[in-house]
C-alpha cells in the first residue's frame, strides 16, 4: 500500500486528501449529469398528451405494426391521440389484459387469435360491438356470434419449403400432410412445439382437423419415426434450421402462407421469384384469425368504437398486409402487388371451433408431448 500523502490531524477538514479523489468525483459527476439529462430526455418523449385531447390506448402483441400515416389519419379524423402498448407475445399480452381487468391498461385489445379466443371470452374482458363494417367482413371469419371479438386479419399456418433444395435434389416438394411421413422425406421437416409456439399449436390443430382426434397422434408418431425436428419457437425453426433462411439443413418448415411474399419483400436485393413456397392443398393448413375487441371498463366506449370501425375500414385494412404480413379481413381491401403475385390462401383450411380448442387444448398438447418428445 502506498503511504498516505499527508497526515490528517484531528479536526482537519476535507482538503488534505482530496487531490486524488477529485478527478474521480468529477468523472462521476459527468456520468451523472449525462444520465440525468438522458433520463429527462426520455422522460420528455414519454407522453405528449395535450390537454383536452382524449387518448385511446391499444394493447397488442410484439408483432403488431401499422403505418405512421394511417395512425395520423385516425388521430386527425377522430381528434384523438392513439397510444400503443405492446406486452410480449400474443399469449402474454392477452394474459396481462385479463390480469388487469379490475383496472384496465387499455381501451382496445388487438390480436386475440382463434386459439386463444375462448380464454378471452371466458375471462369476460370484452364488450360487444355491432360494428357497421362487419358487413364487409368475410362471414367465415366471424367466430364470436355476440361480436365481443371482431375479426380483423387472418393468415394460414402451413408448411413452407425451400424451392432450391427440392430443385437441386430433383424430388417433388410435399403436397399433402401424408407426404411428410414417406421415407423420402425422412429428416427434412422442422416444426414448432405446440406447447410454446403459436404457429406450432396452429399446425397441431391442422393435423387434428385433417386426421381427426383419433388419427392425429398416429400421424405424429410416424412423423417422429421419420426424424422430425421440433423447436420451441418459430425463430429457431426458421432462422436456425430452415435451409432456405439459415445454415440449417431442413428444407421443410412450419410457417405462414404469407412467408413467401415476405421473403420477396424483405430480400437483400430485388427477387423475381420467392425462394420459398407454401403448401396450401385441402386440409393442410390451419386458418389463424386475429380479432380486435373493446376492453370492458373503458371510459371511452364511444371513441373506442370509432377506432374499431377505423381498424375494420379500408384504409387500415389495406395497410395490414405489408406491415404484419397477414391478410385483411375486410373483403373490399385491395392487396398490395407483392401479395397479389406471391401470396396464396389455403384451399379448404382447417377450422376448429374455438370452444373445442379451449376445452381440449391442454389434453391435445399433453398427448402430443407424450407422443413426440418423451
Amino acid at each position: 500500500m502506498e503511504a498516505p500523502r499527508e497526515v490528517i490531524l484531528p479536526g482537519d477538514g476535507f482538503f488534505y486528501f482530496s487531490e486524488e479523489v477529485i478527478p474521480m468525483n468529477r468523472r462521476i459527476l459527468t456520468v451523472l449529469i449525462l444520465a440525468v439529462s438522458l433520463s429527462s430526455l426520455t422522460g420528455c418523449s414519454r407522453e405528449n398528451t395535450t390537454p383536452g385531447i382524449e387518448t385511446i390506448t391499444v394493447m397488442t402483441h410484439d408483432s403488431f405494426s401499422i403505418s405512421e400515416g394511417v395512425v395520423a389519419d385516425i388521430e386527425k379524423d377522430l381528434g384523438i391521440k392513439i397510444r400503443f402498448l405492446k406486452s410480449g407475445d400474443a399469449g402474454a399480452a392477452l394474459n396481462q389484459a385479463i390480469l388487469s381487468r379490475a383496472n384496465p391498461l387499455a381501451d382496445i385489445f388487438y390480436g386475440v387469435d382463434n386459439t386463444f379466443m375462448s380464454r378471452a371470452l371466458e375471462a369476460d374482458i370484452f364488450v360487444a360491438y355491432e360494428s357497421p363494417l362487419l358487413s364487409s367482413i368475410d362471414d367465415s371469419l366471424k367466430l364470436d356470434r355476440a361480436n365481443r371479438l371482431l375479426p380483423v386479419d387472418y393468415s394460414d399456418v402451413c408448411l413452407n419449403y425451400d424451392k432450391a433444395w427440392f430443385r437441386e435434389k430433383a424430388t417433388s416438394p410435399p403436397a399433402r400432410l401424408e407426404d411428410l411421413i414417406r421415407p423420402e422425406y425422412k429428416g427434412l421437416t422442422v416444426v414448432e412445439n405446440p406447447a410454446t409456439s403459436s404457429p406450432g399449436l396452429a399446425f397441431l390443430l391442422a393435423t387434428i382437423g385433417h386426421f381427426g382426434q383419433e388419427g392425429y397422434l398416429e400421424f405424429w408418431k410416424q412423423l417422429r419415426q421419420n426424424d422430425v425436428l421440433v423447436t420451441d419457437g418459430w425463430e429457431d425453426a426458421y432462422w436456425g434450421q430452415f435451409s432456405a433462411a439459415s445454415k440449417g439443413n431442413r428444407p421443410i418448415v412450419v410457417s405462414y402462407a404469407s412467408s413467401p411474399p415476405a421473403e420477396v419483400h424483405f430480400s437483400e436485393k430485388p427477387l423475381d421469384d420467392a425462394p420459398t413456397a407454401a403448401v396450401l392443398g385441402p386440409g393442410t393448413a390451419f386458418r389463424q384469425i386475429e380479432f380486435v375487441g373493446i376492453i370492458k371498463g373503458t371510459a371511452n366506449v364511444e371513441l373506442a368504437r370509432k377506432v374499431v370501425d377505423f381498424m375494420l375500414g379500408r384504409k387500415f385494412q389495406e395497410d395490414i398486409p405489408l406491415q404484419m404480413f397477414v391478410f385483411p379481413a375486410n373483403t373490399s381491401a385491395q392487396l398490395p402487388p407483392v401479395f397479389e403475385r406471391y401470396a396464396r390462401l389455403a384451399e379448404e383450411p382447417v377450422l376448429i371451433d374455438p370452444e373445442l380448442i379451449a376445452k381440449r387444448r391442454s389434453a391435445w398438447i399433453d398427448s402430443w408431448t407424450e407422443a413426440v418428445l418423451r
Binding site: 486524488e20 426520455t42 410480449g88 396481462q96 406447447a195 423447436t231 429457431d236 432462422w239 440449417g248 419483400h265
Partner: protein, 548 residues
C-alpha cells in the same frame, strides 16, 4: 440499520409486494386458498425431473465455466501484455447478446451446414456432418460457458489482482513448488471470490431460459421454462406461481449455504496495488499460460462473435453495407420504426440509470452486510440476491396487478425498464463489492478513526479507494446486464422506446433475408456499445494512480 433501509425498501416495493400480489391472486383467486390446479405438481414425476435437470445442468455448467475461466482470470489479474483491455472488453460482450443471436452464431459455426462441419466433411470426405450438437446438452453447456466466462474473469480476477505477491513468494522461498504454493496459498485466499462468482454463474444457469429453449430444444426444460409455459401458454397461474415459489426457495437455500460458507472463508488482507502484482509474462510458464488462454478466448468467444459480424456485412456473396443502410430506412412507414441511433440512445440511457441505482442500492447493501454480524444479516444476504433468480414473467404479471394505483401507478411508465434492470443488476454490485469490503483489514479503518476521521471521511478516503476496483467491476456488470436484458424488458418496455435487444427481436419476427441481416447488424452495434461502455468504465478506473 439505516443503511439497510434503502435497499430493503426498494426490494419491498419492487420485488416482494408485486410477488405477494401475484401469489395471492394465483393461490386464492376467490379469496380462499384453492389448490386444485396444482395436483399435477405432485401426481407425476415430471416436475421433480425438471428440478433435477435444472440443478445438475447448472452445477455442471458452473464447474465447466470455472475450469475454462480460472486460468483466464489469472492472465488478466497478474499479467501485463499489449491489447489486454481490449481483450477484456471482448470477454464482456457475450453477456449481453440475446440467445437467438447466440444460437444463430453457434449454428453458423457448428451447425450441420456450419463452417466447421463443412470443412471437416470436405477435408475427410465425410457424407454426414460429424459434429451434431443441435438440441443436445453439450450445446447448452457450451452456451452457458460462453455467457458466463466473463463473470469468473471479472470477479475472481478482481480479487486476484489485489492479492499480495509476498505470500506466494514466501511459500516459494520455503521450498514450495509453484503448484503447491497455488494450492495451499493462492487458492484458499481466492476462495471467497471464487465462491461469489460461482454462485452467480450457478444462479444464472439455474434460471436459464433462452439458451435452454433455443439451443436445447423442447426436450429440455428448466423450472424457468416450465413457469413461462404455464403462465403464458396454458395460463395456469397457480402452477406457475407454485413453480416460482419452488425456484425461489431452492435459490434461497443455495444462497444461504453460500453465505454461510463465505463468512467462514474470508481472510483479512492488505490490498496491493496492481502496479506491483502485475508483471510482464517473462517466464516460459507464463507465456504458455497466456498463449493458451488467448487461444481459448479466441475460439470460444471470438469465433462466434466474428461469425455474427461477418454475417452482418455479407449480402449475397460479398461484402456489403446493405443491412446497415436498411437500418436507417423505414420503407413501410411503420410507426414503430426506430433509427438505430435512437435504440442505442434508449439502451444507454436505461443502462446509466440502472447503473446508478444499482450502485447506490448495491453499495448500501454490501456496506450493511459487511458490518453486520448478526443472524439477521445472514438471512438478509441471500434475500438481497433473490431477484436474480426470479422468473421475469411471474414478476412482470405481479407488476401488472400490484403497481396499478397512485402513487405507484407505474405499469406503463418508462421508469419501469431501468427499475426492472436494477433489480437484476444490483446483486452483482453486492457480490463484487462484498468480498473486497470483508477482506479489508479492520486496522485500516480503525487507524483512520483514531486519527480523527469521521465515518464519511473514512469511507471516502480509506474504504472507497480500496474497493474502487470492485465498484467498477460491479458497475460494468450493471451496465452490461441492463444493455442485454430481454426477458423483463419485453414486458415493461414501451413500443416507442425499445432497447437494442428488443429491436433485434423485432427484425427476427418476420421472414426475409433483409430482416435477418438487419438483426445481425443490430447485434454488431450491440457488441460495439457494450465494448465501448466497458472501455469507458475501465478508463475511469485506470485514471487512478493509487489504484488497488
Amino acid at each position: 440499520m439505516l443503511i439497510a433501509g434503502i435497499p430493503l425498501g426498494f426490494l419491498a416495493v419492487f420485488y416482494f409486494y408485486p410477488l405477494m400480489k401475484i401469489f395471492a391472486l394465483s393461490f386464492m383467486p376467490e379469496g380462499t386458498l384453492s389448490l386444485v390446479d396444482l395436483h399435477g405438481l405432485v401426481s407425476t414425476s415430471y416436475y421433480l425431473k425438471t428440478l433435477w435437470f435444472t440443478t445438475w445442468q447448472a452445477a455442471l455448467s458452473t464447474i465447466l465455466t470455472l475450469v475454462v475461466a480460472l486460468p483466464g482470470a489469472y492472465v488478466f489479474a497478474r499479467l501485463r501484455f499489449p491489447g489486454k483491455t481490449l481483450l477484456q472488453s471482448l470477454t464482456a460482450i457475450p453477456f449481453v447478446l440475446p440467445s437467438v443471436v447466440v444460437a444463430a452464431a453457434f449454428h453458423a459455426l457448428l451447425g450441420p451446414n456450419g463452417v466447421v462441419n463443412t470443412w471437416l466433411m470436405n477435408g475427410f470426405g465425410l457424407e454426414t456432418p460429424p459434429i451434431q450438437l443441435n438440441h443436445t446438452i453439450w450445446f447448452i453447456l457450451m452456451a452457458h460457458v460462453f455467457y458466463n466466462y466473463t463473470v469468473i474473469i471479472r470477479i475472481v480476477g478482481g480479487a486476484w489482482s489485489r492479492m499480495q505477491s509476498s505470500l506466494t513468494e514466501a511459500a516459494n522461498m520455503l521450498g514450495a513448488s509453484p503448484w503447491t504454493a497455488f494450492r495451499k496459498v493462492t487458492l484458499p485466499l481466492l476462495f471467497p471470490s471464487i465462491c461469489a462468482a460461482s454462485l452467480l454463474v450457478f444462479i444464472f444457469c439455474f434460471s436459464s431460459f433462452g439458451v435452454i429453449l433455443i439451443l436445447g430444444g423442447p426436450r429440455y426444460a428448466t423450472i424457468e421454462v416450465e413457469i413461462y409455459r404455464q403462465a403464458v401458454h396454458i395460463f395456469n397461474l397457480p402452477m406457475a406461481a407454485a413453480l416460482s415459489l419452488v425456484q425461489i426457495c431452492f435459490t434461497f437455500l443455495f444462497l444461504w449455504v453460500y453465505t454461510w460458507l463465505q463468512r467462514r472463508t474470508t481472510v483479512a488482507l492488505y490490498p496491493e496495488s496492481r502496479r506491483i502484482t502485475q508483471k510482464r509474462p517473462t517466464t516460459i510458464r507464463d507465456r504458455c499460460i497466456l498463449g493458451a488462454n488467448i487461444t481459448i478466448m479466441a475460439l470460444l468467444l471470438g469465433t462466434p462473435l466474428l461469425a455474427l459480424v461477418i454475417q452482418s456485412f455479407t449480402a449475397g456473396d460479398g461484402f456489403s453495407l446493405v443491412f446497415y443502410r436498411a437500418l436507417l430506412e423505414n420503407p413501410s412507414q411503420s410507426i414503430f420504426f426506430i433509427p438505430p441511433v435512437q435504440a442505442i440512445g434508449y439502451s444507454i440511457g436505461f443502462a446509466l440509470i440502472a447503473l446508478i441505482l444499482s450502485l447506490i442500492i448495491g453499495l448500501l447493501a454490501a456496506t450493511f452486510l459487511s458490518q453486520e454480524k448478526s443472524r439477521a444479516a445472514s438471512l438478509l444476504d441471500p434475500l438481497f440476491m433473490l431477484p436474480l433468480a426470479t422468473s421475469a414473467v411471474t414478476l412482470g404479471f405481479g407488476y401488472i396487478i400490484a403497481l396499478d394505483k397512485p402513487p405507484l401507478n407505474l405499469r406503463t411508465s418508462i421508469l419501469l425498464v431501468p427499475l426492472a434492470h436494477t433489480l437484476v443488476a444490483y446483486p452483482f454490485v453486492v457480490r463484487s463489492v462484498l468480498p473486497a469490503l470483508r477482506s479489508m483489514p479492520k486496522s485500516l479503518r480503525e487507524s483512520a478513526v483514531l486519527l480523527g476521521a469521521s465515518p464519511v471521511q473514512t469511507w471516502i478516503h480509506v474504504v472507497m479507494p480500496i474497493i474502487r476496483r470492485a465498484i467498477i467491476v460491479g458497475a460494468v456488470f450493471a451496465f452490461t446486464i441492463s444493455i442485454g436484458e430481454f426477458g423483463a424488458t419485453v414486458f415493461v418496455a414501451r413500443p416507442q422506446t425499445p432497447t437494442i435487444p428488443l429491436a433485434i427481436y423485432r427484425f427476427l419476427g418476420q421472414p426475409g433475408a433483409l430482416n435477418y441481416g438487419q438483426a445481425m447488424a443490430m447485434s454488431t452495434l450491440l457488441m460495439l456499445v457494450t465494448a465501448a461502455g466497458f472501455l469507458f468504465l475501465e478508463k475511469i478506473r485506470m485514471s487512478h494512480e493509487g489504484e488497488f
